[in-house]
Protein backbone atom coordinates (compact mmCIF):
# COMPACT_ATOMS: atom_id res chain seq x y z
CA UNK A 1 0.00 0.00 0.00
CA UNK A 2 0.99 3.67 -0.31
CA UNK A 3 1.29 6.16 2.58
CA UNK A 4 -0.20 9.62 1.94
CA UNK A 5 2.44 12.31 1.45
CA UNK A 6 2.00 16.03 0.68
CA UNK A 7 -0.90 16.77 -1.66
CA UNK A 8 -1.25 13.15 -2.86
CA UNK A 9 -4.77 12.71 -4.29
CA UNK A 10 -4.53 9.01 -5.19
CA UNK A 11 -5.73 6.27 -2.81
CA UNK A 12 -3.29 6.06 0.13
CA UNK A 13 -3.07 5.40 3.91
CA UNK A 14 -3.23 8.49 6.17
CA UNK A 15 -1.53 8.01 9.55
CA UNK A 16 -3.76 9.01 12.51
CA UNK A 17 -2.85 8.48 16.19
CA UNK A 18 -5.63 8.26 18.83
CA UNK A 19 -4.27 9.45 22.21
CA UNK A 20 -6.43 8.01 25.03
CA UNK A 21 -5.47 10.90 27.35
CA UNK A 22 -6.69 13.40 24.72
CA UNK A 23 -10.11 11.70 24.61
CA UNK A 24 -10.26 11.31 28.41
CA UNK A 25 -10.12 7.51 28.39
CA UNK A 26 -6.71 7.09 30.09
CA UNK A 27 -8.41 6.37 33.46
CA UNK A 28 -10.10 3.14 32.35
CA UNK A 29 -7.67 2.03 29.59
CA UNK A 30 -4.51 0.94 31.43
CA UNK A 31 -2.40 0.06 28.36
CA UNK A 32 -1.52 1.22 25.69
CA UNK A 33 -1.54 5.05 25.95
CA UNK A 34 -3.05 5.31 22.47
CA UNK A 35 -2.94 3.59 19.08
CA UNK A 36 -2.34 4.34 15.39
CA UNK A 37 -5.86 3.94 13.94
CA UNK A 38 -4.96 5.35 10.44
CA UNK A 39 -7.50 5.62 7.61
CA UNK A 40 -7.75 5.42 3.81
CA UNK A 41 -8.34 8.44 1.59
CA UNK A 42 -7.86 9.51 -2.05
CA UNK A 43 -9.29 8.73 -5.45
CA UNK A 44 -9.60 5.45 -7.33
CA UNK A 45 -9.98 6.21 -11.06
CA UNK A 46 -11.15 3.16 -13.00
CA UNK A 47 -7.78 2.31 -14.51
CA UNK A 48 -6.22 1.74 -11.07
CA UNK A 49 -9.11 -0.32 -9.64
CA UNK A 50 -7.62 -3.30 -7.82
CA UNK A 51 -4.13 -1.78 -7.75
CA UNK A 52 -1.82 -1.06 -4.77
CA UNK A 53 -2.86 -2.82 -1.62
CA UNK A 54 -4.14 -5.82 -3.56
CA UNK A 55 -1.30 -7.39 -5.56
CA UNK A 56 -2.48 -6.54 -9.10
CA UNK A 57 -1.89 -9.58 -11.26
CA UNK A 58 -1.49 -9.26 -15.04
CA UNK A 59 -5.07 -10.50 -15.35
CA UNK A 60 -6.29 -7.68 -13.10
CA UNK A 61 -4.36 -5.08 -15.06
CA UNK A 62 -5.84 -6.23 -18.38
CA UNK A 63 -9.28 -6.35 -16.81
CA UNK A 64 -8.79 -2.80 -15.51
CA UNK A 65 -7.81 -1.51 -18.92
CA UNK A 66 -10.80 -3.26 -20.49
CA UNK A 67 -13.07 -1.73 -17.88
CA UNK A 68 -11.58 1.72 -18.38
CA UNK A 69 -11.89 1.57 -22.18
CA UNK A 70 -15.28 -0.09 -22.45
CA UNK A 71 -16.79 1.74 -19.54
CA UNK A 72 -15.25 5.11 -20.44
CA UNK A 73 -17.84 7.76 -20.10
CA UNK A 74 -20.36 5.61 -18.24
CA UNK A 75 -21.36 7.18 -14.95
CA UNK A 76 -20.97 5.72 -11.46
CA UNK A 77 -19.55 2.38 -10.39
CA UNK A 78 -16.08 3.80 -9.46
CA UNK A 79 -13.95 1.76 -7.08
CA UNK A 80 -13.30 2.93 -3.50
CA UNK A 81 -10.15 3.48 -1.45
CA UNK A 82 -10.48 0.86 1.32
CA UNK A 83 -8.27 -0.86 3.96
CA UNK A 84 -6.59 -3.92 2.48
CA UNK A 85 -4.56 -4.98 5.56
CA UNK A 86 -5.44 -4.47 9.24
CA UNK A 87 -3.97 -5.50 12.60
CA UNK A 88 -5.53 -6.23 16.05
CA UNK A 89 -5.10 -3.88 19.03
CA UNK A 90 -4.06 -5.42 22.40
CA UNK A 91 -5.90 -3.60 25.19
CA UNK A 92 -5.71 -3.75 29.00
CA UNK A 93 -8.63 -1.96 30.66
CA UNK A 94 -10.92 -1.79 33.73
CA UNK A 95 -14.52 -2.94 33.36
CA UNK A 96 -17.31 -1.33 35.41
CA UNK A 97 -16.63 -3.69 38.37
CA UNK A 98 -12.98 -2.57 38.33
CA UNK A 99 -11.95 -6.01 37.06
CA UNK A 100 -8.91 -5.89 34.78
CA UNK A 101 -9.53 -7.22 31.26
CA UNK A 102 -6.83 -8.06 28.72
CA UNK A 103 -8.00 -8.69 25.17
CA UNK A 104 -6.97 -8.39 21.50
CA UNK A 105 -9.52 -6.43 19.43
CA UNK A 106 -9.33 -7.56 15.79
CA UNK A 107 -8.98 -5.24 12.76
CA UNK A 108 -8.33 -2.01 14.66
CA UNK A 109 -5.13 -0.71 12.96
CA UNK A 110 -5.21 0.04 9.21
CA UNK A 111 -1.90 -1.14 7.79
CA UNK A 112 -2.48 -0.67 4.04
CA UNK A 113 -5.05 0.81 1.64
CA UNK A 114 -5.96 0.00 -1.94
CA UNK A 115 -8.67 0.43 -4.57
CA UNK A 116 -11.54 -2.05 -4.31
Amino acid sequence: GIDCQGGSRMCCRQEFFVDFREIGWHDWIIQPEGYAMNFCTGQCPLHVAGMPGIAASFHTSVLNLLKANIAAGTAGGGSCCVPTARRPLSLLYYDRDSNIVKTDIPDMVVDACGCS
Partner: protein, 216 residues
Amino acid sequence: PRAGGQCPACGGPALDLESRRELLLDLAKRSILDKLHLSQRPTLSRPVSRTALRTALQHLHGPPQEALPEDNRGQECEIISFAKTGLSNINQTRLDFHFSDTTAGGMEVQQASLMFFVQLPLNTTWTLKVRVLVLGPHDSNLTLATQHLLEVDASGWHQLLLGPEAQAAYSQGHLTLELVPEGQVAQSPVILAGAAHRPFVTVQVRVGGKHRVRRR
Protein backbone atom coordinates in the same frame (compact mmCIF):
# COMPACT_ATOMS: atom_id res chain seq x y z
CA PRO B 1 -7.60 19.43 1.99
CA ARG B 2 -8.27 23.15 2.51
CA ALA B 3 -11.69 24.21 3.77
CA GLY B 4 -14.18 24.83 0.97
CA GLY B 5 -12.32 22.35 -1.26
CA GLN B 6 -13.68 19.03 -2.39
CA CYS B 7 -13.17 15.70 -0.59
CA PRO B 8 -10.82 13.64 -2.82
CA ALA B 9 -12.55 10.41 -1.89
CA CYS B 10 -16.25 11.12 -2.12
CA GLY B 11 -16.40 14.49 -3.90
CA GLY B 12 -18.47 16.00 -1.03
CA PRO B 13 -17.52 19.30 0.66
CA ALA B 14 -14.16 18.87 2.42
CA LEU B 15 -14.17 19.07 6.24
CA ASP B 16 -11.78 21.53 7.89
CA LEU B 17 -8.97 19.75 9.76
CA GLU B 18 -10.46 20.25 13.25
CA SER B 19 -13.90 18.83 12.27
CA ARG B 20 -12.22 15.93 10.56
CA ARG B 21 -10.15 15.21 13.69
CA GLU B 22 -13.30 15.25 15.85
CA LEU B 23 -15.02 12.88 13.40
CA LEU B 24 -12.09 10.43 13.43
CA LEU B 25 -11.74 10.44 17.25
CA ASP B 26 -15.47 9.77 17.54
CA LEU B 27 -15.12 6.92 15.03
CA ALA B 28 -12.22 5.45 17.07
CA LYS B 29 -14.27 5.60 20.31
CA ARG B 30 -17.29 3.89 18.73
CA SER B 31 -15.10 1.24 17.12
CA ILE B 32 -13.47 0.32 20.47
CA LEU B 33 -16.77 0.25 22.41
CA ASP B 34 -18.52 -1.84 19.71
CA LYS B 35 -15.78 -4.45 19.69
CA LEU B 36 -15.69 -4.61 23.50
CA HIS B 37 -19.50 -5.12 23.48
CA LEU B 38 -19.89 -1.96 25.61
CA SER B 39 -22.66 0.62 25.07
CA GLN B 40 -20.62 3.33 26.81
CA ARG B 41 -17.22 3.69 28.49
CA PRO B 42 -17.11 2.16 32.01
CA THR B 43 -17.24 4.49 35.02
CA LEU B 44 -14.87 3.04 37.63
CA SER B 45 -16.60 2.11 40.89
CA ARG B 46 -13.54 1.10 42.97
CA PRO B 47 -10.15 2.11 41.52
CA VAL B 48 -7.48 -0.54 42.03
CA SER B 49 -4.15 0.40 43.64
CA ARG B 50 -1.14 0.40 41.30
CA THR B 51 0.55 -2.09 43.65
CA ALA B 52 -2.28 -4.62 43.38
CA LEU B 53 -2.42 -4.01 39.61
CA ARG B 54 1.32 -4.64 39.17
CA THR B 55 1.21 -7.81 41.28
CA ALA B 56 -1.77 -9.18 39.35
CA LEU B 57 -0.34 -8.38 35.91
CA GLN B 58 2.69 -10.53 36.70
CA HIS B 59 0.29 -13.47 36.75
CA LEU B 60 -1.45 -12.76 33.43
CA HIS B 61 -0.81 -15.37 30.78
CA GLY B 62 0.85 -14.56 27.46
CA PRO B 63 -0.86 -14.68 24.05
CA PRO B 64 -3.38 -17.52 23.50
CA GLN B 65 -1.62 -20.91 23.10
CA GLU B 66 -3.27 -22.67 20.23
CA ALA B 67 -3.52 -20.71 16.97
CA LEU B 68 -7.08 -21.49 15.94
CA PRO B 69 -8.35 -20.77 12.41
CA GLU B 70 -9.58 -17.17 12.23
CA ASP B 71 -13.18 -18.10 11.54
CA ASN B 72 -13.91 -19.80 14.85
CA ARG B 73 -11.32 -18.31 17.22
CA GLY B 74 -13.52 -15.50 18.53
CA GLN B 75 -12.03 -12.85 20.78
CA GLU B 76 -9.92 -14.19 23.67
CA CYS B 77 -10.04 -12.26 26.96
CA GLU B 78 -8.28 -12.63 30.28
CA ILE B 79 -10.03 -11.11 33.27
CA ILE B 80 -8.55 -10.42 36.72
CA SER B 81 -11.09 -9.82 39.45
CA PHE B 82 -9.96 -8.66 42.91
CA ALA B 83 -11.79 -10.07 45.91
CA LYS B 84 -14.11 -7.97 47.99
CA THR B 85 -13.41 -9.71 51.34
CA GLY B 86 -16.78 -10.67 52.74
CA LEU B 87 -17.54 -11.59 56.34
CA SER B 88 -14.45 -13.37 57.66
CA ASN B 89 -13.29 -14.59 61.06
CA ILE B 90 -10.38 -16.49 62.55
CA ASN B 91 -11.79 -19.77 61.20
CA GLN B 92 -12.58 -18.75 57.63
CA THR B 93 -12.00 -16.09 55.00
CA ARG B 94 -14.80 -15.31 52.58
CA LEU B 95 -13.96 -13.77 49.18
CA ASP B 96 -16.65 -12.27 46.89
CA PHE B 97 -16.07 -11.65 43.15
CA HIS B 98 -18.39 -9.72 40.81
CA PHE B 99 -18.44 -9.93 37.01
CA SER B 100 -21.08 -7.84 35.28
CA ASP B 101 -19.96 -8.00 31.64
CA THR B 102 -20.47 -11.73 31.32
CA THR B 103 -23.41 -11.19 28.97
CA ALA B 104 -21.26 -10.53 25.88
CA GLY B 105 -22.50 -12.82 23.13
CA GLY B 106 -21.16 -16.38 23.11
CA MET B 107 -19.08 -16.17 26.33
CA GLU B 108 -17.12 -19.43 26.85
CA VAL B 109 -15.03 -19.81 30.05
CA GLN B 110 -11.75 -21.61 29.24
CA GLN B 111 -10.10 -21.64 32.68
CA ALA B 112 -10.43 -19.99 36.11
CA SER B 113 -7.98 -19.95 39.02
CA LEU B 114 -7.68 -18.35 42.46
CA MET B 115 -4.46 -16.56 43.53
CA PHE B 116 -3.95 -15.79 47.23
CA PHE B 117 -1.01 -14.88 49.48
CA VAL B 118 -0.38 -16.74 52.74
CA GLN B 119 1.91 -15.83 55.65
CA LEU B 120 2.81 -19.21 57.21
CA PRO B 121 4.86 -19.83 60.38
CA LEU B 122 8.21 -21.53 59.59
CA ASN B 123 8.31 -25.32 59.09
CA THR B 124 4.53 -25.74 59.14
CA THR B 125 2.24 -27.31 56.57
CA TRP B 126 -1.32 -26.21 56.34
CA THR B 127 -4.31 -27.94 54.73
CA LEU B 128 -6.77 -25.44 53.32
CA LYS B 129 -10.32 -26.22 52.26
CA VAL B 130 -11.64 -23.90 49.50
CA ARG B 131 -15.45 -24.02 49.32
CA VAL B 132 -17.12 -22.74 46.14
CA LEU B 133 -20.47 -21.13 46.97
CA VAL B 134 -22.96 -20.14 44.28
CA LEU B 135 -26.26 -18.29 44.28
CA GLY B 136 -29.24 -20.62 44.07
CA PRO B 137 -31.28 -20.35 40.83
CA HIS B 138 -34.31 -18.85 42.55
CA ASP B 139 -33.10 -17.36 45.81
CA SER B 140 -30.32 -15.15 47.08
CA ASN B 141 -28.92 -17.79 49.44
CA LEU B 142 -25.49 -19.18 48.79
CA THR B 143 -25.23 -22.94 48.38
CA LEU B 144 -22.11 -25.11 48.41
CA ALA B 145 -21.32 -26.18 44.83
CA THR B 146 -18.03 -27.99 45.47
CA GLN B 147 -14.84 -27.77 47.55
CA HIS B 148 -11.11 -28.27 46.98
CA LEU B 149 -8.35 -29.27 49.46
CA LEU B 150 -4.96 -27.60 49.11
CA GLU B 151 -1.69 -28.31 50.97
CA VAL B 152 0.23 -25.09 51.73
CA ASP B 153 3.78 -25.51 53.03
CA ALA B 154 5.40 -22.11 52.45
CA SER B 155 4.58 -18.41 52.67
CA GLY B 156 3.95 -16.63 49.36
CA TRP B 157 1.49 -16.66 46.45
CA HIS B 158 -0.51 -19.83 45.85
CA GLN B 159 -2.68 -20.75 42.84
CA LEU B 160 -5.71 -23.04 42.84
CA LEU B 161 -7.30 -24.11 39.54
CA LEU B 162 -11.08 -23.78 39.90
CA GLY B 163 -13.40 -26.31 38.26
CA PRO B 164 -16.59 -26.10 36.20
CA GLU B 165 -18.74 -25.04 39.18
CA ALA B 166 -16.71 -21.85 39.67
CA GLN B 167 -16.68 -21.26 35.91
CA ALA B 168 -20.49 -21.56 35.86
CA ALA B 169 -20.67 -19.08 38.77
CA TYR B 170 -18.53 -16.66 36.72
CA SER B 171 -21.05 -16.84 33.87
CA GLN B 172 -23.79 -15.94 36.39
CA GLY B 173 -21.78 -12.88 37.41
CA HIS B 174 -21.08 -13.72 41.08
CA LEU B 175 -18.60 -16.10 42.72
CA THR B 176 -18.01 -16.58 46.47
CA LEU B 177 -15.10 -18.61 47.84
CA GLU B 178 -14.57 -19.56 51.48
CA LEU B 179 -11.05 -20.48 52.64
CA VAL B 180 -11.28 -22.69 55.75
CA PRO B 181 -8.16 -24.05 57.54
CA GLU B 182 -8.37 -27.81 58.17
CA GLY B 183 -7.25 -29.33 61.47
CA GLN B 184 -5.54 -27.53 64.34
CA VAL B 185 -2.32 -25.55 63.79
CA ALA B 186 -0.31 -24.08 66.62
CA GLN B 187 -0.20 -20.58 65.22
CA SER B 188 -2.93 -19.80 62.65
CA PRO B 189 -1.54 -18.79 59.26
CA VAL B 190 -2.77 -15.52 57.78
CA ILE B 191 -4.29 -14.96 54.33
CA LEU B 192 -3.12 -11.45 53.52
CA ALA B 193 -5.52 -9.02 51.85
CA GLY B 194 -3.50 -5.77 51.93
CA ALA B 195 -3.02 -3.68 48.75
CA ALA B 196 -0.05 -5.69 47.48
CA HIS B 197 -1.53 -9.06 48.46
CA ARG B 198 -5.22 -8.81 47.55
CA PRO B 199 -6.50 -12.24 46.56
CA PHE B 200 -7.79 -12.35 42.97
CA VAL B 201 -9.30 -14.71 40.40
CA THR B 202 -8.03 -14.92 36.81
CA VAL B 203 -10.52 -16.12 34.19
CA GLN B 204 -9.68 -16.93 30.56
CA VAL B 205 -12.68 -16.42 28.31
CA ARG B 206 -13.48 -16.76 24.60
CA VAL B 207 -16.14 -14.33 23.32
CA GLY B 208 -18.16 -14.79 20.13
CA GLY B 209 -16.21 -17.79 18.85
CA LYS B 210 -18.25 -20.12 16.64
CA HIS B 211 -18.97 -23.30 18.58
CA ARG B 212 -17.05 -26.15 17.05
CA VAL B 213 -19.26 -28.06 14.61
CA ARG B 214 -18.73 -31.78 15.09
CA ARG B 215 -18.06 -33.23 11.68
CA ARG B 216 -19.53 -36.70 11.46
